[in-house]
Symmetry: C2
Subunit: 525 residues, 2 copies
């Protein structure tokens, strides 16, 4: 007496006999996806895919594991988070850590000099899981990358347009895309007097400014990383700034910035980029943020990170970072105070070994330009370089936001798409139900029936209610003999009640098809 259930219950290990006991959990940092969760995930993927295809994207796939040497030396300190396969004789392999390195390997291996590709797939990191923050060991990335030699900032601007369009379509709420340029950042460090060998480590300290107050970051620079206090202060003057075009104007007017080749180049590129982003209508969502540094070494140009109000870590109070970017230059120390002080500080300090390669807490997508990664694989000659720019959308984040929404709005979400439930009133009529179901399937109508030869009517209605199946088809012996069946729209059951409409079996398919498409229209399919 079991009905079809699309939703699982809670995890429990039954130990009622003395059969071998199994630990039925999934491995640490991984999870099972229920049918309802899968329907949300599929909605996310199809929304994202639609945008990617609209911009000329094609998709590829690579194996879930790569030769270990392909991944080695690409992720800095985070290489320790890579899953290795056991040596069972043969090649030494590792699970992919992201989709970018396999993409670069693919380009080099297949001599593909230019492509717009997207890839939606699972990646693996032996990180400390934080399920509540959506940080898993097995998780999806949705990547869009443009490879090829083109005129400056054109593909970069389209990737940013794609990011903005995708987040808008995903309906995750207001978001901000924080934007910076590696060359500007390098220029700031050079101007401030950071020794060349300290630039990457100081850069990674700066990147923490969205989670720590300036005083903490400065302390890390000076006490931990041995930077001169004056140098740190000079960095601070810049990296506290964020804004939009006005900030760009300020940097253009800054003689120190203009005297530095790297900064000058970065500023010029940003100006071109802003022009393109204006055409693409992305400026309102943008925050030019000099503290954005991104951890991965391979970025060589523009870098960005999208922050969504709803994606904030649960332990942090809502604050100004996620507010729409203002057009005024804001000293970051002021706007960000809300998240950085008070009782949460102690907790935040535990997070000080932040995984720089990860999409940070509160951020939902990230990316940038990496012009030299493919060349590393292709042999390192200048002619083998394939410049790339891309973005990676962290879908577990989006998923958490949408699941919360469904739960808070108590939306009637159904994982199952069945349109018609074929039922019998009295005497089972199994062969007849099968015959009708077959006819419906042949006409592309999604149909089910109860897997008993003589099911009780209430049991059949229970399924219809539980699964929210819009139409019931009732077969009764006498009506069947007269070549007729009843169609009953279940959605209006409470209101209308009634016994449904008697229709001829010969008219069943056109009649049902009409009603189903009307129902779909009303439901907003």
């Amino acid at each position: 007496k079991k009905n079809l259930e699309s939703e699982g219950g809670t995890l429990k290990n039954k130990t009622k006999s003395n059969a071998p006991k199994y630990n039925l959990k999934t491995p640490k940092g991984t999870k099972d996806w229920s049918p309802l969760e899968m329907s949300v995930r599929e909605h996310i993927f199809s929304t994202i895919t639609e945008v990617f295809k609209k911009h000329g994207g094609v998709t590829i796939d690579t194996p879930v594991f790569e030769l270990k040497e392909i991944l080695a030396g690409k992720y800095g300190e985070d290489s320790k988070l890579i899953y290795d396969l056991q040596d069972q004789g043969g090649e030494i392999c590792s699970l992919r850590y992201d989709l970018t390195v396999p993409f670069a390997r693919y380009l080099a291996a297949n001599s593909t000099s230019s492509i717009k590709r997207y890839h939606i797939a699972k990646v693996y990191r032996r990180d400390q899981p934080a399920m509540t923050k959506g940080r898993m060991r097995e998780f999806y990335q949705c990547d869009f990358d443009i490879a090829g030699s083109f005129d400056p900032m054109i593909p970069d601007s389209e990737v940013l347009a794609i990011l903005a369009e995708t987040l808008t379509k995903l309906d995750v709420g207001p978001f901000t895309i924080k934007l910076n340029h590696r060359k500007i950042l390098d220029g700031i460090f050079e101007i401030s007097g950071v020794p060349q060998d300290k630039i990457r480590t100081i850069s990674s300290a700066v990147d923490k400014l969205d989670k720590l107050p300036w005083e903490e970051v400065k302390k890390e620079m000076t006490d931990e990383k041995g930077l001169d206090g004056d140098v740190a202060d000079r960095i601070g003057e810049y990296v506290k700034l964020s804004g939009s075009r006005d900030l760009l104007e300020k940097l253009k007017a800054d003689s120190k910035m203009q005297s530095n080749d790297s900064a000058k180049k970065g500023i010029e590129e940003m100006e071109v980029l802003f022009n393109y982003l204006e055409i693409f209508g992305v400026l309102p969502q943008l925050s030019f943020d000099l503290s954005l540094a991104r951890g991965l070494d391979y970025y060589t140009g523009v870098i960005y990170e999208a922050v969504v109000e709803g994606s904030r870590a649960p332990t942090l109070a809502p604050a100004a970072t996620a507010a729409p970017a203002g057009s005024k230059i804001q000293p970051k120390g002021v706007t960000h105070t809300g998240t950085k002080q008070g009782s949460k500080d102690a907790e935040l300090k535990h997070e000080s070994d932040i995984d720089e390669s990860q999409i940070g807490v509160g951020s939902i997508a990230a990316g940038g330009r990496y012009d030299e990664l493919v060349g590393m694989f292709a042999g390192g000659a200048a002619k083998d370089q394939i410049p790339c720019v891309g973005v990676s959308i962290g879908v577990e984040r989006v998923f958490s936001i949408l699941m919360q929404k469904i739960q808070s709005e108590q939306q009637a979400s159904r994982a199952k798409q069945t349109e018609v439930y074929v039922m019998a009133i009295g005497d089972g009529l199994l062969a007849e139900r099968m015959q009708i179901a077959k006819q419906l399937w042949d006409n592309n109508i999604k149909a089910e029936f109860f897997y008993k030869s003589k099911p009780k009517l209430p049991k059949q209605f229970e399924v219809v209610d539980k699964e929210q199946i819009p139409f019931g088809l009732l077969l009764a012996p006498r009506e069947w003999a007269e070549g007729q069946v009843r169609v009953k729209e279940q959605r209006g059951k409470e209101e209308g009640g009634g016994n449904g409409d008697l229709i001829k079996i010969d008219d069943l398919i056109p009649e049902l098809s009409k009603r189903i498409s009307e129902w779909k229209k009303n439901e907003g399919f």
Copy 2:
């Protein structure tokens, strides 16, 4: 001067400088999927998914790796083919070997007593790869399973209907579903006098009858497995038989079969199943084949395997096994001679360590009823049993068939869906092209433009031709100033030539939308 390419070239490792040299290959038995291959794969998945959903299927997902103990002891000898993850501190895990065991674990863990679930995902086997036969170490399975306690053979018949419907929709050519019942097979062994402890090993010998002549199989039974020659001959009398309902009638009339409880039960169930399959219209594709044994221990009832003409291994000549099942009982030794004798025998013997759990050479899908697997996880008590029946479709097989078809028919397949290419005649007009592209994207039209500020017209047309983009939109300075652009349908270029139609920018969206939907209708979308 690089155009967007959606297709990669051949694998080659460039070694032009003294940078570290990478082996750019994917691990043994794995492959990269190009955009064209992905578009075929997506077509297959969406076709399969549509059928699965039509029958009330919902989907779940499980992690790509499980705790090692979950997989241990489920695959008999083939457990040696399981990939283990390296012990990096923490849990010991293995990559999933199929989707059935994780499904059973899911049901037990989530106390799900009843579900129709499908799962399309990659599985991993450290098998000897045979790329030409589509046997990979990383490959997809598309599984549909019905779990729950229902009346006999109802879900079984729907799973077979789903299999037939899916293979028909996939358009893989004529196919046969070979069908048998574990209880009938066990009955045959008992009647013939096979000792209880030899039943599984003799069963696995019988399963080779589609690849080896009876004499070889008998030799394996007697010489290798120590079975009495007379016992083997008695088995042979039965397992050489195949047919349809007529075979069932013959077995019903067989007093030895009727005297065996197991065989009697199996025959009764088959009779019910045949009645249901007749309603579902599946009988014409069916061959009741007493030699079908399937290797996996967990099957407890009906078992089946689908064979497609096009899926035959390249080394085998086309033969009678894939012909539509006749209604006559056929001694298998006769019909199958074509594949079993002659010059191929030597080669076939090398395959004698057949992976029984694999979908066999030439077969495209397989499955059966397994009533006790979930119970193993749930604790073994009778009340924890969740009866299941399901099918697994081997999509790499289908993929090879469809790719061959595309190549042989020289179909103009395009991986990219771009509908409009926005071009400039003279002077670049980059900002204008961007502005138009933005407008098209906002109206859900798939559009691209050349990523150069002043691209040459021939270069732009090259892309349109290469990517088979149906519409070109041409911007020229003077026409633009007059608020007009040209639309040029590229498909008819050779025939019509001409400069396209001048239309007002204000009318662009409705005009283009109309033309695109007409084009789609003609292309059969």
